[in-house]
């Protein structure tokens, strides 16, 4: 099934995000989860803690499908990623 994503203009640390390939400024967004490989794994085979995850905000260019990804960083009330829905 094809998922429908909303489209966004995005600012990262106050600077508009552009596609490095085609310069478009409209992106679809999804959240991506990567499991972080724990260095414990080699040493401690009995470690049963669930893997930690790295959560990335992934922005796919609407025109050429180039993907750019950012981790959300929050300092007090401020966050590095601001999205404005455009449709």
């Amino acid at each position: 099934m094809d998922r429908k994503h909303s489209n966004y203009e995005v600012q990262i640390i106050g600077k508009p995000l552009r596609c490095p390939h085609c310069d478009s400024a409209i992106f679809s967004h999804r959240e991506v989860y990567l499991d972080i490989v724990s260095p414990n794994v080699d040493v401690d085979p009995f470690n049963e803690d669930p893997p930690e995850q790295l959560v990335l905000q992934s922005f796919t260019c609407n025109d050429c499908y180039n993907i750019q990804q950012f981790q959300q960083l929050t300092k007090g009330m401020e966050t590095n990623i601001v999205c404005k829905q455009v449709d």
Partner: protein, 176 residues
């Protein structure tokens, strides 16, 4: 073990060329070894990297599918470096005390002649140019655990949870 000590803010080079963030051009990253989470496999088209570096300034993530050309240089603050040197001396003191190594190693470490320390530790590693004190520490710690003087798992946990401040009191317990 040297690699496990490196879970911190780092400069990264690919094929000896330093990388800068593509978005903000800063050059400090947190490196992660990552693999694809399988919860929603249909969401992961194009994302199969096993190495992810996140820019500490803007959050931009750079992914590499191959790690062999990725060189990570942790940024060592003066405080961290001093802690590493103190821990190295402790680890060597224990090895000397247990008669695993000649005591000239202590003088060499105090004089910061780390390459000579490395020779005495009989290390075959040749990638020590950037952080000789840390490399010596990693080798000394692994020798302490291969000789069953300290518990490898315990050292490993302390490094992960508390970094160097935690190893210092841990090693001190073994000094007679």
């Amino acid at each position: 073990m040297a690699k496990d000590l490196n879970l911190e803010e780092s400069h990264i080079a690919i094929l000896d060329r330093p990388i800068n963030c593509l978005f903000c051009e800063h050059d400090v990253f947190i490196p992660y070894v990552t693999y694809k989470n399988e919860v929603e496999p249909e969401m992961y088209a194009g994302i199969q990297a096993n190495y992810t570096a996140v820019c500490t300034h803007c959050g931009s993530a750079i992914q590499f599918g191959e790690m062999s050309n990725v060189h990570v240089n942790p940024i060592i603050t003066e405080a961290k470096l001093q802690a590493q040197k103190r821990c190295l001396l402790l680890a060597l003191q224990i090895l000397v005390q247990e008669k695993k190594i000649d005591d000239t190693v202590l003088t060499l470490a105090e004089e910061e002649q780390y390459f000579k320390v490395m020779v005495l530790l009989k290390s075959r590693t040749n990638q020590v140019e950037e952080m000789p004190a840390l490399s010596c520490l990693a080798i000394a710690l692994s020798q302490l655990s291969t000789h069953n003087i300290v518990d490898a798992m315990q050292v490993h946990r302390i490094i992960l949870d508390e970094s160097y401040p935690g190893i210092e009191p841990f090693l001190k317990q073994f000094i007679k």
